[in-house]
């Protein structure tokens, strides 16, 4: 697949897409979609549950429905139309894309298609100055210890309480990142109440992220938090109600509770970095598309299980870092 002839004109910073519950962290997959056509772009996101319009520096017109994405970008020099289909969700995404481009400066149309990896190489050319590294490893997770759910002392309905999410940790990179590698986010994500449990029980988000709290149960929930970074109380609401969305604009640990169901526990970890991921339930993680340099790698499972290690990332290298809980 040929390298884009006009790529040097791009404002080449990679885009890091915020992880969400419906679209788990894809991190540098966003780098693939930086149809960074330079002088102006618009970014339109349409999903089944939200709609957004923004005009960021590296944005574009983007229609995102389920796993399909239609991406349109334009500048003085290029016009691109991209159709992408994602076949997986998770830290690593396998996508198939079809890209139609026209370079006004050179003339002619180009048709590109292929798997994600091909496209990644294609678009990586202009951002070689931010050559990317990766970290993988394993975090020793605490034993599951879900709170006891007691029946109502004085009678009343008891719904079926599902199992709480198994323990997981959030691994994130902190430090001074290269200029242009961090883009302010206004992402929106969801944290559900299902089976009288928070899903996910641990949600990492970037500062500035908007979180909604849909109720998936046939009874009332009342989500609240008295944590210092975010203090709120949504009141009682049921399925199909839309409680006020909350913007998490301060970094820190936000503990979530339900006023009606005392056993429910959730945590939103608000991070001041775009480089983070949630581990699998066996503790394995992988952070891709990281900028090279010296940073601190941190792992947060709960307040008793937080770890950090200094790391030095080199271009095109994958570092292996385990947090063994000691």
């Amino acid at each position: 697949m040929p390298c884009h002839a006009g790529s040097s004109r791009r404002l080449a910073a990679p885009k890091h897409i915020q992880g969400t519950e419906s679209e788990p962290p894809r991190r540098r997959v966003g780098g693939l979609w930086t149809l960074d056509f330079g002088l102006w772009t618009l970014d339109l996101r349409v999903r089944t549950s939200n709609f957004g319009l923004r005009i960021p520096r590296f944005g574009r017109w983007m229609l995102n429905v389920e796993r399909w994405m239609l991406n349109v970008g334009c500048s003085l020099f290029d016009f691109g139309l991209l159709v992408r289909r994602s076949f997986s969700e998770g830290g690593w995404t396998l996508d198939f894309g079809l890209l139609v481009r026209r370079s006004f400066s050179e003339g002619g149309w180009t048709l590109d298609f292929g798997l994600l990896v091909c496209a990644l190489l294609f678009f990586s050319c202009p951002i070689s100055s931010h050559a990317q590294a990766a970290i993988e490893g394993k975090v020793a997770l605490p034993a599951p210890d879900p709170p006891i759910a007691s029946p109502p002392r004085y009678g009343g309905p008891v719904g079926e309480i599902a199992s709480a999410d198994p323990p997981a940790a959030v691994v994130y990179l902190e430090g001074q990142f290269p200029p242009g590698s961090i883009i302010p986010t206004n992402a929106t994500t969801q944290l559900w109440q299902r089976g009288m449990q928070f899903r996910p029980a641990l949600l990492p988000v970037r500062v500035g992220t908007t979180v909604t709290f849909p109720n998936g149960d046939d009874l009332y929930h009342n989500v609240f938090s008295y944590s210092k970074p975010k203090r709120f109380d949504l009141g009682r609401y049921r399925k199909d109600d839309k409680p006020a969305a909350q913007v998490f604009d301060k970094p820190g640990v936000v503990k979530l509770y339900c006023e009606i169901h005392e056993h429910m526990r959730g945590v939103i970890l608000v991070l001041n970095t775009p480089f983070f991921t949630r581990t699998a339930t066996n503790g394995l993680y992988r952070l891709d598309h990281l900028p090279s340099g010296k940073y601190t790698l941190k792992a947060w499972a709960d307040e008793k299980h937080t770890f950090e290690k200094p790391v030095e990332l080199k271009p095109h290298e994958t570092l292996h870092v385990d947090f063994d809980g000691r």
Partner: protein, 435 residues
């Protein structure tokens, strides 16, 4: 009176009637206030490690075996209350002047396998109802519940536990009650006595001119009524049901709730049917029928009568609604006391209560209460209202600092017909710690 579970550390309330009990030495109260204040300051400080400590403590008070077959959860409520009254204190406040009250409640919820549950509530306080009396330690509740199925359609329960009647019991503890005091029907003594039989209608009606005799007179329903007995209850779809047999009427004095009281000769039968058309609404219809007098009154009854011949019959409708920041509750009681030598003494009582969350921690609550009394034959050819109609308006502001600390400030204005008033104005403050 036998007191098997009342472990009175300094005599009982009735004995105190004739003594100068202006209470615990003052230094004890001051010490309690100081300790509590220090505790509150620690809890309030966001920079203090007490916050995660109490979070951890609360979780660590939950114990279970490895396989989870046996689990227990200890919850502690610490209350410090202050009451200022401009006259004689209203309701079930047991003091003649402004006073400080404190209370420690310990709840142990235990599970044995998926089908057995037990609850123990032990309290250390200055009397079941607020006052400045000597220290008491009691088991207020203890129960064993068997749930034979995996859902909640059938529960069978024995022990000493709160009544199924009405809609206030579920939120009667200090952490959940938006106000400090109970609704009027749950705490306003009428002139009906459980141990003092009127000799005539005139004798009965003459009580109206006296201040409440809170050691003898009874309200429509005495708080959560932790009487002893058994119950069957459950939920099927949108319907709830409960049926219980207890040893004391819903209006009975706390002394009558213990298992060795009333000898089970005259049990009280109560039932409630609930309907929840949606998560927002909850309707309930309760009925109760029981003998409200104790054996202390038996010797005063007319010849050939026993205390089982004089019943309390109560019909209660409760409704609640919640949406977003609003919660609303209302109850309507229609009550009849069959009074010896007098006849049927009927009354209607209701309250409407609302709570609104202003911010994440701050809320406002208000309650309008009213009791309207029927008439009885006055013994000289006429009919008279057998007690003074009354209304009371309660308003409160509450603030939850954390999941472990909240405070409330309440103002109440009550007025009854006639010249005798009892605590027209009440200001109360309460600090509650929970972990």
């Amino acid at each position: 009176m036998k007191r098997s579970t009342w472990i009175s550390m300094a005599g009982d309330r009735r004995a105190r009637k004739d003594t100068n009990y202006t209470n615990l030495p003052e230094f004890v109260s001051i010490r309690v206030i100081r300790v509590f204040s220090l505790f509150a300051v620690i809890l309030l400080s966001n920079h203090c490690p007490a916050q995660p400590f109490l979070d951890n403590l609360q979780d660590n008070l939950k114990l279970q075996t490895k396989d989870g077959f046996i689990r227990s959860d200890l919850t502690v409520l610490l209350d410090l209350e202050g009451y200022y009254v401009d006259q004689r204190p209203p309701g079930l406040l047991y003091e003649d002047e402004s006073f400080i009250n404190y209370r420690a409640s310990f709840f142990i919820d235990a599970h044995i396998g998926p089908h057995f549950y037990s609850l123990i509530q032990a309290r250390v306080d200055r009397g079941f109802d607020p006052g400045s009396q000597d220290l008491d330690a009691r088991l207020d509740e203890y129960l064993l519940r068997w749930t034979p199925t995996d859902d909640s359609r059938l529960n069978i329960q024995f022990g000493k536990f709160a009544t199924a009647v009405g809609g206030w019991v579920q939120r009667h503890d200090s952490w959940q009650n938006p106000l400090i005091t109970a609704p009027l029907p749950y705490e306003n003594p009428t002139i009906v006595s459980y141990d003092d039989v009127p000799t005539s209608p005139a004798d009965f009606l003459y009580r109206r001119s006296y201040p409440d005799d809170k050691d003898s007179w009874i309200p429509v329903i005495w708080g959560p009524v932790y009487a002893t007995g058994g119950s069957i209850f459950g939920s099927i779809g949108k319907m709830d049901y409960a049926f219980e047999v207890k040893n004391a009427a819903i209006s009975s004095h706390p002394d009558a709730w213990d298992v060795d009281q009333n000898y089970w000769r005259y049990p009280t039968f109560s039932a409630r049917i609930g309907f929840r058309p949606s998560p927002a609404w909850n309707h309930g219809l309760s009925f109760s029928d029981g003998a409200y007098m104790t054996h202390d009154a038996a010797a005063q009854l007319p010849a050939g009568k026993n205390i089982g011949d004089y019943r309390q019959l109560t019909l209660d409708y409760d409704v609640s609604y919640a949406f977003r920041k609003w919660e609303l509750w209302a109850e309507l009681f229609l009550n009849r006391f069959q009074v010896p030598n007098v006849g049927d003494a009927d009354l209607g009582a209701y309250y409407i209560e609302a709570k609104y969350k202003i911010t994440a921690g701050l809320y406002a609550a208000a309650r309008w209460n009213q009791e309207i009394f029927g008439t009885v034959h006055d013994g000289s050819g006429g009919w008279e209202a057998w007690d003074h109609d009354m209304f009371r308006a309660d308003a409160a502001l509450g603030y939850r600092f954390t999941r472990h600390l909240q405070t409330k400030l309440q103002y109440s204005f009550g007025h009854r017909n006639g010249s005798l008033q009892q605590g027209e104005q009440l200001v109360a403050a309460q600090v509650t710690a929970k972990f």
